[in-house]
Amino acid sequence: MQTTLTDTAGKRRSRNRFRSLEFVMGVVLTGAVVLAVLFSGWLFPDGGEGMDLAARLTPPFQSLAHVLGTDPLGRDVLARMVVGGQISLTAGFVSVIFGALLGTVMGLIAGYYRGFWDMIVMRFADVQLALPFILVAITFISILGGGLFNVIFFMVISQWVQYARLVRGQVLALREREFVQAARAFGVRDLAMIRHHIVPNLLGPLIILMALNVANNILLESSLTFLGLGVDPTIPSWGGMLADGRTYLQTAWWVSVFPGLAIMLTVLGLNLLGDWLRDRLDPTGKV
């Protein structure tokens, strides 16, 4: 018996150590990307637009001036990558913040008051399930035009339902809990009830969903820009660089390899953080 106990304890400890290693990796990756992007203006004052015509198509790791090589216009791949991160991070974080705000308010109303609003939210959820974001984008962005604002706007419009559904489910469960009923018996008003008893209890799952969606929306924005439905192809962005790189795939593989790696490492960092948060805040797996 003694051995089995220490055995499982040892296993759990090694698993926890592994998980904390993942957490550290997540923090390092996300932190490095966020810092590089925040200081991109200082690191690369030309905004990745400078053309070194003498050094066109420099392969990577051969020149200190262009560590990751240059594209056929002589633009530095590393500089464009770091500057291009601004678009990805803005799209990821801004869309999630507004989507979560809108969705939380709608979910609170739907879950707390039920009835008409509840029905509206659930029917929106049905529509969202049938119309993946790429189809929404193909329809609306191809007609109304791209740009960072439109991309974020349509992400918010088509994703708030996810948060609304999550919050609604949580509120429905919380309403029946003793501490909420006790508070109601004491005559706590609706708004105070939502603020002090409901919202603090649904922050955990909400934050996990937000972390995972930042990662997801970075992928979506790069897809849209790659397809020509996202941000202006002339300004540096990861999806735009990959769209360029596709045309030079034969002559300059590095133009399409490195921006993809940048996306992967950023999203991996965020996913690691999201997973760690899920372990910590949501052990029963509601998200």
Binding site: F18, R123, A130, L135, I138, I143, L242, V257, I263
Partner: protein, 307 residues
């Protein structure tokens, strides 16, 4: 059961109406098709424009146009392309099978990858193999599908010229697009198989099967896996929308002659009837698949009908 069926079908009808309204409305935002159609035709009088509008039925109010569009859909008529006047239904008839073929081959391939890995991870929960599979699945979730597609082209068409980089050149053309989608799908499916398997493995009949002395492989694949196939199929049905969305993007990289390519070509040439038709049909396919999966689940597992 009848109540459940009725409720699910009504829900699907509501979604179809909402989606078609949305798409029709978006296409109306493009401006006057009569002006677009007559561009490049030299001098066009107001009377000519009126005639075009009359012929296309564009002078009617939006609700009437929407209803006649819906009436057309029911009879398989999606209007005509602005480019050359081909029937949109005909174009879709050519493109939809290519997209569905890619979808089903990717799904099948992803099952071949993710089921053994997921079962293995569940059996060796917490061990090195489980952690390794987890990390691979996390990495698989972290890059865009079109980048994986580009990297495969770079590796298998340019560095080692083994496979055709794009288009349809016989069944070998299917390998790279299907592999791309299968890897992306497997990243989520492995986790799914692992979680459902873990729940099933703790069930008593698994213990009984083991204590009967059955071989471990029989216990896992015959007894346990069969019992978790229902939640797996349901969840994969729910993912169908995402799968179609992914394929639409991938088609662009491989010039795959499917619905995505049809839609992007329509965007490039501002051919709005084709755009409207292809988005509508893709949404319809997704809605119908979700409906069928739900009904199948309702038949197999009566508990779901109450929800």
């Amino acid at each position: 059961m009848i109540g459940f069926l009725l409720k699910r079908v009504l829900q699907a009808v509501f979604v179809i109406v909402a989606v078609t309204l949305l798409v029709s409305y978006a296409v109306r935002l493009t401006g006057d098709p009569a002006i677009m159609l007559s561009q490049g035709a030299g001098s066009v009088s107001e009377q000519d424009l009126q005639n075009i509008r009359q012929a296309l039925g564009l002078n009617r109010p939006f609700p009437v146009q929407y209803l006649s569009y819906m009436q057309g859909i029911v009879t398989g008529d999606f209007g005509r392309s602005f480019m050359g006047g081909t029937s949109v239904a005909h174009l879709i008839g050519d493109a939809l099978p290519a997209t569905l073929l890619l979808a089903f081959v990717s799904l099948a391939l992803s099952l071949v990858i993710s089921v053994p890995l997921g079962v293995h991870a569940a059996v060796h929960k917490g061990k090195a193999a489980d952690q390794a599979i987890r990390i691979f699945s996390l990495i698989g979730l972290s890059f865009p599908n079109f980048w994986l597609a580009l990297m495969l082209v770079l590796l298998l068409s340019i560095t080692f010229p083994l496979l055709p980089p794009s288009g349809w050149d016989g069944p070998v053309s299917l390998i790279m697009p299907a592999l791309t989608m299968a890897v992306i799908l497997s990243a989520t499916n492995v986790r799914l198989v692992r979680t459902t398997m873990l729940e099933t493995l703790s069930a008593q009949y698994v213990m009984v099967a083991r204590s009967k002395g059955l071989r471990e492989r029989v216990v896992l694949y015959k007894h346990a896996l069969r019992n978790c196939s229902i939640p797996l199929i349901t969840y994969m049905g729910l993912q169908f929308g995402g799968l179609i969305g992914g394929i639409v993007v991938i088609e662009k990289v491989f010039n795959w002659p499917g619905m995505g390519t049809l839609a992007f070509d329509a965007i490039a040439s501002r051919d709005y009837p084709v755009l409207q038709g292809s988005v509508t049909v893709l949404a319809l396919v997704i809605i119908i698949v979700n409906l069928l999966v739900d009904i199948a689940y309702g038949i197999v597992d009566p508990r779901i009908r109450i929800r």
